[in-house]
């Protein structure tokens, strides 16, 4: 199915507008229509009832596995733990070679070099959080050093956090410039911008922050750090996917979406895939444009996959923990 079948028309002629001043940015973002919160939540609830069975379920599970950014972001992380995470990302189920690899492993900057050495030149990317993750409360100078550190250690992808304090108090220019500067510091590396939707209060803010990040050059917009009370929610993801679709339709630049935090079950993952397909279109159903930031989700996906094959419910401890 092509994106056109879903009514998504990616612009081919226009380009991303240049933002020259904070007032221009403010005018652009405040001119956006509000989000119908009740409607968004209702639509998510409706889409969550969609039943995916048999062979479609198998391919959805495999697709979801290939979209996982296998993540460990704990103070207690060790090189050994990262090694086992990388091995798992390469070959999620060692007993079944048909299981696809994960998209990436996501670690703190100091462990990037180690992850890189384990993964070598494999298809699994190394992603690193940076810019004073998870709060984002540091000066721009420190944030850029953090990014440069991760990139020079071999990160393919950088997950930055926006300054929510600045965004919520209306200093949009500051947020915008930070993203632009981080994007420049990333060089070749892909930039994922974490909006932390749980702290943005309203869906209107989620839509505006999404546009702001995309205008500033984000390759991905990401829901959450996974470190606050409210993590990724289907409605927030839907609003971000709408923003990514609208952005592609009006500027021609295609931006990916990553949901992270609190996604633990196959059922949740599949309902996100349904939302992606029904909101942005099947073009986004690829690891290049949609990701799950998760750790325990992978085991549940493997368990459900085995359940589909064996016809019996599987023991959770059949798969390695992290």
């Amino acid at each position: 199915m092509t994106p056109e079948d879903r009514g998504v028309r990616i612009a081919t002629t226009s380009a991303v507008p240049n933002i020259d001043s904070e007032s221009q940015l403010k005018a652009l973002l405040s001119g956006m229509s509000g989000v119908d919160a009740v409607g968004v939540e209702g639509r998510c609830a409706k889409l969550a009832t969609r039943s995916i069975k048999k062979s479609s379920k198998m391919s959805a599970i495999d697709l979801a596995i290939s979209m996982v950014d296998l993540t460990t972001l704990e103070g207690a992380d060790t090189p050994g733990r990262v090694t086992s995470l990388c091995t798992k990302a390469l070959r999620p189920d060692p007993s079944d070679l048909t299981v696809p690899s994960c998209a990436a492993v996501c670690v703190y900057p100091d462990l990037v070099a180690h992850a890189r050495s384990v993964l070598g030149n494999s298809r699994v990317a190394v992603a690193s959080v940076a810019t004073a993750f998870p709060s984002g409360r540091a000066s721009l100078k420190v944030k850029l050093l953090d990014v440069a550190d991760a990139v020079s250690a071999g990160a393919d992808e950088v997950d930055m956090v926006i300054d929510r304090g600045a965004f919520l108090s209306g200093r949009l220019g500051q947020v915008f410039e930070e993203i632009v500067a981080v994007k420049a510091a990333c060089g070749e590396a892909h930039l994922k911008v974490i909006l932390e939707t749980g702290e943005l209060v309203t869906y209107d803010n989620v839509r505006r922050a999404s546009w702001l990040a995309m205008l500033a050059g984000a390759d991905f917009i990401k829901t959450s750090t996974g470190k606050v009370t409210v993590n990724a929610t289907p409605p927030a993801a839907l609003v971000m996917l709408e923003a990514a679709r609208d952005f592609a339709e009006s500027t021609g630049r295609i931006v990916g979406v990553k949901v992270a935090g609190g996604i633990r079950t196959t059922k949740q993952a599949i309902s996100y895939l349904v939302i992606v397909n029904e909101t942005a279109g099947s073009l986004w159903l690829t690891p290049e444009l949609f990701r799950f930031g998760a750790s325990s989700l992978l085991n549940d996906l493997l368990m459900q996959r085995l359940k589909q094959q064996r016809g019996a419910y599987v023991r959770p401890d059949e798969f390695s923990g992290d």
Partner: protein, 284 residues
């Protein structure tokens, strides 16, 4: 004012993880008394209800086994207290389900409540009776300790709706297992009542889960589930046992089936404990 009052009809629901959901499938079925009159509409559990119950039972098993045996005994004793205070209701259901005279049902309920207290007493005695200190040729203590198998699936007796259910469910629970129990298909209400009583007896949610429904549909799911460590197939029809044995063997489960009621009294406790051997140096 009229003396008439609308009936307050009761819905007999499942017990999963301390909550009383209707079946995930939305189904229910009609249960009749022994004489063929309508008794109740009961939730008809599905394989997903079994799955959810196993997740709940697995989640709480370490906690239940980690509680002191004395504490487990207190919790089961409290269940007996709750049953005692609802004995009129239990007696009525046992009488209707099994087609008994009132006095016979009354004696049966008394005996079953006594069984609960008996199992409450066993929690801190299992180790002494089933375990032991073994003589070894070396400067070591060597102990055999009974430990619970884990999560136990029970296909409860089809005929003995209350006594059979209580005996089958409480024995593994007393030994530190957690239980997913299928109630008798035609006579499920006493088991549902017992489940309701656990909610007021300090049972940690998930220690006992009660699923009502069609045995031939649910028993194979329970036997095939790889995260169930043992099954009690007492309530399975003799002609179906072989097939379920094969399914259970797929994940190397312990399988128990009550054959002779006169087996020794600890048969059900012994059915779902493993023996763990511990070596310890003799210190000077």
């Amino acid at each position: 004012m009229s003396e008439e009052r609308l009936d307050v009809r009761k819905t007999y629901k499942l017990l999963i993880n301390g909550a009383f959901p209707r079946s995930e499938s939305g189904r229910s079925y009609k249960v009749e008394t022994a004489t063929g009159e309508f008794l109740a509409n009961v939730a008809q559990g599905s394989r997903k209800d079994v799955r959810d119950a196993v997740v709940a039972a697995r989640g709480v098993q370490q906690k239940w086994w980690g509680a002191t045996p004395y504490n487990r005994g207190q919790v089961i004793y409290r269940l007996a207290e709750m049953a005692e205070s609802r004995r009129a209701e239990l007696r009525e259901h046992v009488m209707l389900c099994e087609g008994l005279e009132l006095e016979v049902a009354d004696r049966l309920v008394s005996r079953t409540i006594d069984t609960m207290i008996w199992y409450a007493g066993w929690t801190d005695k299992i180790t002494q009776v089933l375990g032991g200190a073994n003589p070894v040729a070396g400067p070591f203590f060597n102990f055999s300790l009974p430990v619970p198998s884990g999560v136990i699936g029970i296909v409860s007796s089809q005929d003995s709706s209350f006594e059979g259910f209580v005996d089958a469910a409480l024995a593994p629970i007393a030994a530190g297992n957690t239980v997913v129990a299928l109630a008798s298909e035609r006579r499920p209400t006493p088991a549902v009542l017992l489940g309701e009583m656990t909610a007021t007896s300090d049972f940690p949610p998930g220690v006992l889960n009660v699923i009502t429904g069609v045995t031939s549909e649910l028993a194979p799911v329970l036997c095939a589930h790889e995260d169930v460590d043992g099954v009690d197939l007492t309530g399975v029809a003799p002609e179906d046992v072989d097939e379920l044995n094969v399914v259970a063997a797929g994940s190397i489960k312990r399988v128990f089936r009550l054959r002779d009621v006169d087996d020794d009294a600890l048969r059900r406790i012994r059915a779902f404990v493993e023996t763990s051997t511990v070596w310890h140096t003799i210190g000077q």
